[in-house]
């Protein structure tokens, strides 16, 4: 395991969402995250992978080990070519949902991460990138 290592997982089914959780857990353990940190990043990964599947119509999850300021971290990037999000700030608000969920996915994933970036526009798909530093 070295900084820069990457792995990409296709997200096209419920089972893929589970696989994203499992691989994220494995990487978080290898990077040396505490149990609580592991649980937080895996939970964030689960929320975002589900968004990619349900709202984005499927896509990819990419894991990267990163290093900065002497710290190790795990970066997760979720990309889809779905309908995109017209109002990102609204989508980040707790309780806002277009589906049958609780509307905690994006906002919750942001709270569980050290950094959170989202790029989206109608018709352009969505890319969410989170990093959790050790």
């Amino acid at each position: 395991m070295a900084p820069g290592r990457e792995e990409t997982i296709g997200v096209h089914s419920d089972e893929d969402v589970v696989r994203v959780r499992q691989v994220t857990r494995q990487w978080a353990v290898e990077i040396g995250f505490s149990l609580v940190e592991q649980t937080k990043i895996v939970t964030a990964a689960s929320e975002l992978a589900r968004n990619t599947l349900i709202h984005g119509g499927g896509g990819t999850a990419q894991l990267q080990e990163v290093e900065g300021g002497g710290r190790r971290g795990l970066r997760l990037t979720f990309e889809d070519k779905g309908p995109g999000i017209a109002d990102v700030s609204q989508a980040l608000r707790d309780g806002y949902t277009t589906g049958s969920g609780l509307g905690l996915g994006l906002g919750g994933a942001r709270r569980l991460s050290s950094t959170f970036d989202i790029t989206s526009a109608p018709g352009q798909g969505t890319c969410v990138r989170i990093t959790r530093w050790k």
Partner: protein
């Protein structure tokens, strides 16, 4: 399993007297969560169950989907006159749930199965006493 679903596609529900017991020991993908929710609701009615105990001690995460399903189960059970208690949540899961913003409203919890069962019995017992006093 005899109902045509492939193994691993459902979570066993044990009936013990007036209680239904569920121990989640596999990774919960979303379809499995929905199946559990449906089957539990049916079995509460079918067996006239008064209590439902769900052991999540093997779950490494509870995300918003699983959390919502636990809330739905508890609410549907309550409407069907059954008490639900979720037991065995790992500390790291509890910490993460709070940060996620999920407060599991309406879901009773206990540290372990024994305490959970005591909680259900106590609540059912209290109901009985009140009924008795009113008679």
């Amino acid at each position: 399993m005899l109902d045509g679903k492939p193994p691993g596609e459902r979570i066993p529900i044990l009936k013990m007297g007036e209680f239904l017991l569920v121990t989640i020991q596999v990774e919960m993908h979303d379809r499995l969560v929905m199946t559990l929710q449906d089957e539990l609701t049916h079995q509460i009615v079918q067996y006239r169950a008064r209590g439902v105990l769900i052991d999540i001690s093997a779950l490494e995460i509870v995300d918003s989907f699983i959390g919502r399903a636990l809330g739905n189960i508890a609410n549907m059970a309550r409407i069907l006159d059954a008490e639900t208690v979720v037991v065995g949540m790992r500390p790291a899961v509890a910490i993460t749930l709070v940060e996620l913003g999920l407060n599991l409203e309406g879901v009773r919890t206990a540290l372990n199965a024994e305490k959970g069962m005591a909680l259900i019995r106590r609540r059912l017992g209290q109901t009985g006493k009140l009924d008795g006093a009113g008679a």
